[in-house]
Amino acid sequence: MIDRIKKKAEELLRTKQVDLIIGYKRAPDGVSVAPVFIDKAEETKELIWDTYCVYNLSNYLKDFRGRKIGIIAKACDARSIIVLLQENQLKRKDIFIIGVECSGIVDEKKLLSISPQTSELGFDERCRSCKPSKPPIYDVLIVQEGQRPQAPRLEKDPYGSVRKSEAKSISEKFKLWQEEFSRCIRCYACRQICPLCYCPRCVADQTQPSWLSRAHSFRGNFTWNVTRAMHLAGRCIDCGECERACPVGIPLRDINKKIEKDVKELFNYEAGLSAEQKALLSCFDKNDPEDFIR
């Protein structure tokens, strides 16, 4: 598989179809993976592809706007490319998507304790409920050959854990999140790593008005985390980067999943499936639920 990826990347650069390839390379530690930006055909040798390729490279696309970019994209990553296209942050003609078939990636944090290839537990939780193995958008698709370890399927309901949390009492929920958010150090790593957080000036940085308290307080942390989540409503494609980047381990995906679930159940809307789709909050249905309104 990697040979075909390399070959395609090499060809794209050599024939000047793209100016740059964004892919994965082995990190110096010899195990984990780092993003790599290649503009010379011969350097494509460096590219790798395996279950350690956790990062959503589409986050880097916005840094190269206006240039022709080849990008290696898993199914989840490709969905964020769709959202970026939908929101006019990219031009389709500027990107060449090397879609890769994926059977799940590892969870780096879990790997600290367990051996990857042998144990099911090594897989990222979100891969266990990921439906497509092929990206919904690509220019060339590199399919898998032979058998590879497959992330074991989760129970039928991908929102099982959200539902479990929903069932808790209000005070339990508050206590839980109070604890989680109180750890937030407002480093905004969740924002920086998110491929869909591209605002030129984030509301968190605005002062006129000051939307949220910059102080390291529960008030401010709560506002930030709700704001981040609301701004991803109907957009988040669950690439998991925010949670991976969070240095204090706030379960951000859980919040994202909660909204994803509501949006799917209430509006039958899923993010990142078509670039022609209207933004969730910029459209409506006459029959949207309103049983919560007096």
């Binding site: 206006g66 942050q89 030129p200 984030c202 008005p209 939307w211 701004h231 933004a279």
Partner: protein
């Protein structure tokens, strides 16, 4: 910043519950407040003078008026501020009457609340920006959608004021429903006799342009500057060459049911809908013309002395600009197919009122004879059934169609006039004859023309030995009634045109659950809509008879002319604004704008040293709803007058 606070007693309306003096003293302690006072009636001339003098004396640059609802006096006090030399948008109101003194009785509580409401207004006004009125130019031309009596009257009024009007009519001729009527109640004027001169006036006016056989395809823009796309359907006859001699339709071999005559008569494939049609230019019905269906015939083209027939004519799409739009799109008949018990469609001799009109007309398909369509014999016993569709929430309409009582009475009278031996029976629920000389007319029909009025519903109609047996109840006598009728006439209600919602969406005007267009205010703005520059007349807004229709047509014309006579239009500057630096160009706002008031704009981004697209608000189109501001994740788009800073400042002051 020097803010003045002016607390109104409103006589005792506020002062009885709120300790206004104390409120004023407390307000004076607030930061940035330089002056605070109370007055008995702040909106009165002396009250306004007090404000002006205070502004002058204390060099106030912002004003808070604590009084009634801004819905009532915001304009008053903005003007007052302006006269006092303060930008009108540096004035805010604290509603201490409707939201305070009138809804609370406890003086202590109400006073405390009033102080807080003022604090809120102070917070907001401290973040207000001086704003300048917007001015937009006005295209001096009025579009009238619909060429019935409503549209015709509007066109005449506008032309009379020497402004150009354009009538858009989808049928080949103007005239609308009224052209089909025989006589009009209660005066029994012949409809054609009073309508035709108006049609001619329109056609001869140098100020009126007619686009007949044309449909509206799209509307862009806003008051003063609407761009309307019109599809001029291919008439297949050159309107400039045709003289209306009639040679073509006299020789056309095709006969199909005439829509104008409700299918009671026939027309040719090249036809004018009725003899007085305006323009008097035929149209080819391509569905039925032999040339178009079988590539045969071609007689009309051969015979036309003016070479006006053009089989290759295509639909033409034109774009025109207008400053105002009058919607006169009219109504259609209720589809009474739901009333199986009335036998319409099943029995040829069960017809609607409009069929009756055509029969009663001496130039109509029966030459003025009231006949049974089944056998052509003259009808003697005729049963009229009122409220077919109207006032029936189960199967039909919730509303009263207003005219059916009157046109049924007229039909009963015409029946007798056309046939001395005839007898009319009218089933009704209530007689609604509220109009000048209407009640008298109904009484005359009963007393002098012997129409029998039966209060009750018809339960069933069936055919028996060539007659229609009408069974019903007379609820006044409690008797079951059975009438052997020659003819049954259904007084079907009036409903909105089926494509009314589409038109409403094009024009951004609301419509109700009956698809009738909604006026801006049911009492005080009955011909306006919430979209400025779009006005309503006639039955597209609610069922109306001819006098009401004509009255609303003239009313709508005056409203449109009110715009036409202005050099430019002043608008409130409460519109959205984009901060170019903050905008990412995701265009969530464009998608969420109901008024297409936001466009893409290319800018040179100095930081990125690149051109990029951002959002741009069309000030003239923006209605100031602010929806865009709430869908903008980066808050790059903000609303003047209700800005993020203003509202957040209010929240912080709470």
């Amino acid at each position: 910043m020097k803010i003045g606070v002016f607390v109104c007693h409103c006589g005792t309306n506020i002062a009885a519950t709120v300790d206004v003096e104390r409120v004023s003293q407390e307000a004076a302690k607030e930061p940035r407040v330089k002056f605070s006072t109370t007055y008995r009636y702040m909106c009165s001339d002396p009250g306004q003078n007090l404000i002006k003098e205070a502004v002058k004396k204390h060099h106030l640059d912002r004003i808070v008026i604590a009084s009634c609802s801004p819905s009532l006096h915001e304009k008053t006090f903005r003007k007052c501020a302006e006269k006092a030399g303060v930008n009108p948008y540096l004035m805010e109101m604290a509603n201490i009457r409707e939201h305070c003194s009138w809804v609370h009785q406890d003086r202590v509580e109400a006073t405390a609340k009033a102080i807080e409401l003022i604090r809120l207004a102070l917070a907001k006004v401290s973040r207000n920006k001086p704003l300048e009125y917007l001015y937009i130019p006005i295209e001096k031309k009025v579009l009238i959608i619909g060429g019935g009596i409503a549209g015709i009257q509007s066109a005449i009024d506008i032309a009379f004021a020497n402004y150009p009007a354009v009538i858009l009519e989808r049928e080949p001729s103007i005239g609308g429903r009224m052209a089909r009527f025989d006589k009009t109640f209660p005066t029994l004027d012949c409809a054609a006799c009073i309508l035709t001169p108006k049609m001619v006036t329109v056609s001869q006016s140098k100020h009126v342009t007619m686009h007949t056989y044309s449909e509206i395809e799209g509307v862009k823009g806003h008051v003063g500057d609407f761009t309307v796309t019109i599809r001029k359907k291919a008439r297949s006859v050159d309107i400039n060459k045709c003289t209306g001699c009639g040679a073509c339709y006299n020789k056309c071999p095709v006969r199909v049911p005439s829509e104008f005559d409700m299918g009671l008569g026939k027309r040719t494939a090249i036809y004018i809908p009725f003899p007085q049609a305006v323009p008097n230019v035929p149209v080819i019905d391509r569905q039925n013309c032999l040339w178009f269906t079988k590539q045969k015939c071609g007689i009309c083209k051969k015979i036309c002395p003016f070479e006006a027939i053009d089989y290759d004519m295509q639909d033409e799409i034109i774009e025109e600009k207008f400053g105002a739009i009058i919607v006169a799109s009219g109504f259609t008949q209720f589809n009474h197919a739901v009333y199986g018990e009335y036998g319409y469609g099943k029995y040829k001799d069960a017809i609607t009122g409009l069929h009756f009109e055509r029969m009663a007309n001496s130039s109509g398909p029966t030459g003025g004879k009231i006949i049974r369509p089944s056998d052509g014999k003259e009808a003697r016993d005729v049963v009229f059934i009122q409220c077919v569709g109207s006032r029936d929430e189960q199967k039909g309409l919730s509303y009263c169609s207003r005219l059916c009582c009157m046109y049924t009475a007229k039909h009963a009278l015409l029946l007798k006039e056309h046939n001395k031996d005839a007898q009319a029976y009218v089933f009704y629920i209530d007689i609604r004859a509220a109009g000048k000389n209407y009640e008298e007319f109904v009484k005359k029909v009963q007393d002098e023309y012997g129409a029998v009025y039966l209060r009750g519903r018809v339960s069933r109609i069936f055919e028996k030995s060539g007659k229609l047996i009408v069974r019903g109840a007379d609820t006044l006598s409690g008797a079951q009634i059975e009438i052997k009728a020659d003819l049954v006439v259904l007084a079907t209600g009036l409903v909105a045109q089926p494509d009314a919602p589409g038109l409403a969406r094009m024009l951004h005007i609301p419509y109700d659950r009956n698809n009738l267009f909604t006026e801006a205010h049911p009492k005080l703005a009955p011909v306006e809509t919430i979209t400025s520059g779009v006005f309503l007349t006639g039955a597209c807004q609610s069922p109306k008879d001819i006098p009401d229709t004509v009255a609303t047509a003239s009313a709508a014309s005056v409203k449109a002319l009110g715009l036409m006579v202005q050099d430019r239009l002043q608008r409130e500057p409460l519109v959205a604004k984009v901060d170019a630096k903050t905008c990412s160009g995701c265009f969530a706002c464009i998608q969420a704008c109901s008024f297409t008031a936001i466009e893409e704009e290319e800018i040179e981004d100095k930081r990125l040293k690149k051109k990029r697209l951002i959002a741009k608000v069309l000030e003239g189109v923006c209605t100031g709803c602010g929806n865009c501001t709430a869908v903008c994740r980066m808050s790059a788009i903000d609303l003047e007058g209700f800005s993020n800073r203003q509202i957040m400042e209010e929240i912080e002051a709470l």
